[in-house]
């Protein structure tokens, strides 16, 4: 067998393993059709593929039905691990956009040897979750599920923390990302109807169609929980001349960008005053700890501030 077919077969069987594993997690029964659809090969080839996998003791076949063996499950977990580590890497250490992570990780997950996977995990500081909130299985295949439920099943007035954003299908995910939602965001639900889900967070109101809200999972917070970021807003909401105190830097801002912000002294409690806007509309210059720093709009969106009234401002100076 030449190397090319070797590699494609590896990709096919790994993709099939991943699919069957996902079905198992979601308590669905994998079928020949669903495997063929997921791996994107014909039914005939799928049958061959499954037989081969069974002969390698990755699957157990009983007539039409099949399920993973322990060996197969371990293998599947290692691919899931590689995939999620890659997504974590792409999110933290590169400049690729959110919507590109999944596809890139899909490509890289098949070309990693166990040693390479371990090296990547070590480089990233053995992360526990991928950027969408999915747990990354350990080398032994252990993990704790995120335990969230879709926003659609919660009730009005509930507070919840987003723990997972589904990254497929890509169009839905792109919409969620465009709304500025992220794992770790605390929200308060204000409306749930068949037409739309509405919730507040960081002083912004979000309105989503249920199909989008279905792809967002959250864990409920206790009734007496004080939301970390109530009545704050994004730095970009400040008009020139207005001030605000930093509440936090959004958790989506990671790696070099976050370090840069902290180096500039943008920390919880820091007073920031918007000074002037560029004649071309962006960036805006802010007075931060006595220095004048220009930040672009999308960066300002990553910083949450609590607006200061005019009087507070005078006291400060």
């Amino acid at each position: 067998m030449n190397k090319l077919t070797d590699t494609t077969e590896r990709i096919f069987s790994e993709d099939a393993l991943k699919h069957i594993y996902e079905c198992e997690q979601e308590h669905r029964r994998p079928t020949m059709q669903s495997v063929a659809g997921s791996v994107q090969i014909t039914l005939g080839k799928t049958a061959d593929l499954l037989t081969k996998m069974a002969s390698r003791n990755l699957l157990q076949m009983k007539g039409e039905e099949f399920q993973l063996t322990d060996e197969g499950r371990d293998y599947a977990l290692q691919i899931v691990r590689a995939h999620r580590l890659w997504e974590r890497y792409l999110a933290d250490e590169t400049g690729f956009a959110e919507t590109e992570w999944h596809e890139l990780a899909d490509r890289h997950e098949h070309s990693m040897s166990p040693t390479e996977i371990e090296a990547l995990a070590a480089k990233l500081g053995h992360p526990t979750h991928d950027p969408h909130g999915d747990p990354i299985p350990t080398a032994k295949g252990e993990f704790v599920p995120h335990g969230g439920q879709p926003l659609t099943v919660m009730s009005v007035g509930d507070m919840a923390r987003i723990v997972h954003l589904e990254d497929e299908p890509e169009t839905v995910y792109a919409q969620i990302v465009a709304e500025g939602l992220y794992v770790g965001l605390e929200v308060r639900l204000t409306e749930i109807s068949p037409e739309r889900i509405r919730f507040r967070s960081n002083g912004n109101e979000y309105t989503l169609a249920p199909v989008f809200a279905l792809n967002i999972s959250a864990v409920p917070l206790p009734k007496n929980h004080v939301m970390a970021s109530s009545d704050c807003e994004r730095l970009t909401c400040l008009e020139p001349g207005q001030s605000g105190k930093v509440v936090n830097i959004s958790p989506t801002c990671r790696g070099p960008e976050r370090r840069r912000f902290m180096d500039l002294g943008i920390l919880p409690g820091t007073l920031i005053t918007a000074e002037m806007r560029s004649p071309s509309g962006d960036p805006t210059a802010y007075r931060i700890r006595g220095a004048l720093i220009a930040l672009r709009h999308e960066q300002g969106n990553l910083i949450n501030v609590k607006r200061k009234g005019k009087n507070d401002n005078d006291n400060q100076q």
Partner: protein, 470 residues
């Protein structure tokens, strides 16, 4: 009973799942915040009143919607005007000293001590003359442009330019500070490469480096001006000639700016996708520029830089061109073989073999393109009474230059494509070397070198084909 190591590891692992991913960052943030709060509580700044009000007033003007851009254009026009008009006189002095006085003295001296013709040719006609050429053309504009630029920087104005222009650079995936490195590039691309250090985001810095060559450098301005005057200015009535040729040169420079936007955009969308990108731009307080200090340090820096560059890079070029023109195999000199070999390629892109050879020879310094072309034209057409001999660069008045170009078979297409090719070809060797040193990457250096060259070939080829079609 004491817990075993395994128990502890097990507990740690369980806790990790609860704590989640961000604990390193949260810890760091807490430490930073604590430190900042302690400092805020206990550090006072006695007697130091920030000059916010004056700064605010100046900022209000230079970044205002109404005045921001006109003021910027005015300032840079003045800088370029002072550079161009002010450089002619000292350029002339240096040329007269190095080429008019010292060069004949050296020749006489060599004859007196009885140096063989080939040695004096190689050393004086080749190496010395090329170096003198580069120094006289290059030194004065650099010595004027860079101090002026540094003064604006010292005052605190340049970061405001980046602030004003950032939105447009952002749209092409670049950093606002690229406006400054590009401006530097109009003086010298190698200096522009060094200047990209001010861009702290890795991806945007690479973009700025790769596209810097599209800023028409000081070594290429004279070529553009000469060709525009001879070919494009000559097409219109005499009273308009000056204006039209100036517009043609500005047009090529603007084309370069647009190319640099376009290339930045496509780089950020293709090969540089995924490189880390962060943005921050500090707008430092204004301060009175230290005029004298700035002028002296920047003059001395640049002067030594140019002299060093001239010696290291122009000298070997001078030697090679002299040898090429003087070593004969059969009836023809080496350089003539090369010209004949490159002629078909030259024809395809609307140029000729001589121009291509000149550009190969001029890799160390674009300043010697025109003198080399003139010398090679005389050499290949066996003219007598023009020029100074094989391998000796010269420059002459416009009428004679035009006559030589005509002898070489130049048309308006040749002129136009030479202007385009001068904008789009590989950077000079100093720039390439600087890029390699600054980026530390052979791959990106190669991209920066070959990309403009390929673009030059494609553009001139298309222009030549269209020209011949109509």
């Amino acid at each position: 009973m004491n817990p075993t190591v395994d128990d502890i590891l097990q507990t740690a692992q369980e806790l990790r799942w609860k704590v989640g991913n961000n604990f390193h960052e949260q810890l760091m943030e807490t430490i930073y915040t604590e430190a900042a709060q302690i400092a805020d509580r206990s550090v006072t700044y006695p007697g130091k009143k920030p000059r916010f009000d004056l700064d605010r007033t100046i900022d209000g003007i230079v970044t205002s919607r109404l005045w921001g851009f006109p003021l910027m254009i005015l300032l840079f026009t003045v800088v370029f005007w002072i550079t161009i008009s002010g450089a002619n006189v000292p350029s002339d002095w240096i040329a007269r000293l190095l080429i008019g006085i010292i060069y004949p003295m050296l020749k006489t001296g060599a004859a007196t001590i009885g140096l063989p013709w080939w040695l004096s040719g190689l050393l004086i006609d080749g190496m010395y003359l090329a170096t003198a050429w580069v120094v006289s053309v290059m030194l004065p504009p650099m010595a004027i442009f860079f101090p002026l630029f540094t003064l604006l920087e010292d005052f605190g104005y340049l970061p405001r330019v980046a602030f004003n222009l950032d939105n447009w650079f952002k749209k092409s995936g670049a950093h606002g500070k690229q406006a400054l490195t590009m401006m530097m590039g109009f003086g010298c691309n190698a200096a522009g490469m060094v200047a990209t250090r001010i861009i702290d985001s890795p991806r945007e810095r690479l973009i700025a480096m790769i596209t810097n060559n599209f800023a028409l450098c000081n070594g290429r301005w004279p070529t553009q001006i000469l060709i525009a005057t001879l070919f494009i200015g000559a097409m219109v009535p005499a009273q308009l000639a000056g204006l039209i040729s100036a517009l043609a040169v500005v047009g090529v420079a603007l084309l370069g700016v647009m190319l640099s936007f376009g290339v930045s955009w496509s780089l950020s969308k293709s090969v540089l996708k995924g490189e880390i990108s962060t943005f921050s731009l500090e707008l430092p307080p204004y301060r009175p520029p230290r005029i004298w200090q700035t002028i002296t340090t920047s003059m001395i820096d640049r002067t030594f830089f140019v002299l060093w560059r001239a010696v290291v890079f122009a000298m070997p070029a001078g030697a090679i061109i002299w040898l090429g023109a003087n070593i004969h195999v059969g009836n023809l000199s080496l350089v003539e073989y090369l010209i004949n070999f490159l002629n078909p390629l030259g024809w395809l892109i609307g140029l000729n073999g001589i121009i291509l050879v000149a550009y190969i020879v001029a890799i160390p310094a674009n300043e010697i393109v025109i003198p080399t072309i003139l010398m090679l034209t005389v050499l290949t057409s066996n003219l007598s009474g023009v020029g100074d001999g094989a391998g000796i660069m010269f420059q002459t008045d416009q009428v004679e230059t035009m006559a030589l170009f005509k002898t070489g078979g130049w048309t308006l297409l040749t002129g136009l494509n030479l202007m385009l090719f001068s904008l789009m070809h590989n950077p000079c060797s100093t720039t390439i070397y600087t890029m390699y040193r600054e980026s530390g990457s052979l791959k990106w250096t190669l991209v920066a070198t070959l990309l403009p060259l390929c673009m030059g070939f494609v553009v001139t080829f298309v222009v030549a084909q269209l020209w011949r079609l109509f």
